[in-house]
């Protein structure tokens, strides 16, 4: 299976094509966002409803990563 690489908070992850950014963040062991009181959060609903998986992708903040597929070289960061 061919794979592609992206970085999540600077950690390189190799994923299979079609993988969503939310699952890449989980594979990298990185939280998707930090809540307003400072707690790490990861995906909850997996279907674009809860907004817990929002992250900054290539500089654009608040992207719902469970509905976005990984692309080679993406730069993904925890949202705060």
């Amino acid at each position: 299976m061919p794979s592609l690489s992206l970085t999540v908070n600077g950690v390189t992850v190799d994923v299979e094509p079609g993988t969503t950014v939310a699952t890449a963040a989980m594979q990298a062991g990185q939280p998707c966002r930090v809540s307003i009181s400072g707690a790490p959060r990861g995906p909850l609903c997996g279907m674009g409803i809860c907004f817990e998986c929002r992250m900054t992708i290539n500089g654009r903040a608040h992207c719902r990563t469970c509905q976005i597929r990984c692309e080679p070289g993406m730069d993904v960061k925890t949202d705060d």
């Binding site: 994923v15 299979e16 094509p17 079609g18 993988t19 969503t20 939310a22 699952t23 890449a24 989980m26 594979q27 062991g29 939280p31 998707c32 809540s35 307003i36 009181s37 707690a39 790490p40 959060r41 990861g42 995906p43 909850l44 609903c45 997996g46 279907m47 674009g48 409803i49 809860c50 907004f51 817990e52 929002r54 608040h62 469970c66 509905q67 976005i68 597929r69 990984c70």
Partner: protein, 434 residues
């Protein structure tokens, strides 16, 4: 200024799950111009979600074939956020703002999981039951991981079987309903051989997995990520180590768009007549928003809505009998998976209830209504707009849902500015029309 792409159709269907796909097939075959819109990147909805990049589940194939034969190309990645006037919807794609014009509209917006707060439920790796399944389908490796599946509803066993098939170890399945209420549900299934076959298959798939009733999670623990789950199992508590807690308390309908359109909503569900017509002219609704009934029910309602919107009323009538039978199944399911009152005691004073705004249980307790709590605490005012905490507070405090206002999903500032600055925006017709 943001350019506005315009798509015009005779019938627009919102949601490309089973109900929406069946509606699209039937409407498309009637010769009307159909737009099938979904916010995910491929059709199938939640139940027929594709495994990574591939086609949706096998069962979706027959409908996709009919849809494609009618030359309907699903508009995926479109999220409807406003209805500026009847006949016009506004949607965002990853980069653009789109105007969708319709003569008739079919709402097939499906359902989401109900989440209930308990201490630790905000830890990463605690997620919905359908949520974990969706993530595994989107590429999360699960082989060798240990999962607890908990909550209520028929989804739990299906998710546990799916995760196990993909190599997960299922530490336990915890169903909050009692054995007695499940037994009554099983009796109600007797009239439906298809459901019995499914149930027997699940039993086989889950052989050796502890499945317990009258059991629910009371707390999740971990240092910045889930490590253990404490379960109340028929009155005794037990702590299990696990990598994932997949926890959902059955389903709640997605009715925000229906409410924004002004459709009457009775006890959480969109009111429809025999022809799946809502109380708003030219707006129909099919599937879970009219009552949680599962995939078969969604397919029949979708077909009826599609036939009606295509002018084939006599053919639609032929499906009424089938729908009636499926609705009795839905009623039995609703009874079997009623939430037990003990679940209201799950949150502690510090437990976060509104995850977007980090509002704890104790801050919400004093308020008599959701509106009052919202104004004083910001509960429900974050990006999910109460989609998670709304159903939870409805159960915890008996608060009724608040009114729905646009945008029903957070939209980009550029999109809102484009709408505000130009009531009749410069249009670029991408798809032709009349």
């Amino acid at each position: 200024m943001t350019r506005v792409a315009c798509h015009k159709f005779d019938v627009i269907i919102i949601g490309a799950g089973p109900a929406g796909m069946a509606a699209a097939a039937c409407a498309g075959e009637s010769g009307v111009r159909v737009g099938l819109v979904d916010d995910n990147f491929s059709p199938g909805g939640q139940i027929w979600r594709s495994q990574r990049a591939g086609e949706p589940a096998l069962e979706a194939g027959v409908w996709l074939k009919r849809i494609r034969a009618s030359r309907i190309e699903p508009l995926c990645g479109f999220r409807v956020f406003d209805v500026p006037k009847m006949g016009v919807l506004l949607a965002e794609t990853a980069d653009d703002l789109c105007e969708l014009r319709y003569d008739r509209l079919i709402l097939a917006t499906g359902a989401r999981e109900r989440f209930l707060p308990f201490p630790g439920w905000t830890l990463p790796n605690v997620m919905g039951a359908g949520g974990l399944q969706a993530l595994v389908k989107s590429g999360l490796p699960i082989r060798g991981k240990r999962a607890v599946v908990a909550g209520t509803g028929p989804l739990l066993l299906a998710v546990a079987a799916y995760l196990r098939k993909h190599g997960a170890e299922i530490a336990m399945v915890c169903e909050q309903a009692s054995w007695g209420s499940l037994a009554r549900f099983a009796v109600a299934l007797m009239g439906q051989p298809g459901k019995i076959v499914q149930a027997l298959q699940l039993k086989k798939d889950l052989a050796g997995v502890p499945v317990t009733t009258s059991s629910w999670p009371v707390a999740a623990q971990g240092n910045n990520v889930l490590e253990t789950v404490t379960i109340s199992r028929r009155g005794k508590s037990e702590t299990l180590a696990c990598d994932y807690l997949a926890c959902g308390f059955h389903l709640v309908p997605n009715t925000e768009l229906a409410a924004l359109l002004g459709c009457q909503i009775d006890r959480d569900f969109v009111r429809v007549d025999d022809f799946q017509r809502t109380t708003v002219p030219e707006v129909l609704c099919a599937g879970e928003p009219t009552g949680i009934g599962g995939v078969e029910s969604a397919l029949v309602e979708g077909q009826i809505a599609g036939l009606v919107s295509g002018g084939r009323v006599a053919e639609a009538r032929k499906l009424f009998g089938q729908r009636k039978k499926l609705r009795s199944f839905a009623a039995a399911m609703g009874d079997a998976f009623q939430l037990r009152p003990e679940l209201r005691d799950l949150p502690s004073a510090e437990t976060t209830v509104c995850r977007c705004e980090d509002v704890p249980y104790s801050r919400l307790q004093p308020y008599p209504t959701r509106r009052a709590a919202k104004l004083q605490t910001r509960c429900g005012m974050g990006p999910c707009q109460g989609r998670v905490c709304g159903p939870a507070t409805q159960f915890l405090f008996d608060w009724t849902p608040d009114s729905v206002r646009p945008p029903i999903f957070p939209a980009r500032v550029e999109s809102l500015a484009a709408v505000a600055s130009s009531p009749e925006p410069e249009q670029e017709a991408i798809t032709g029309g009349h």
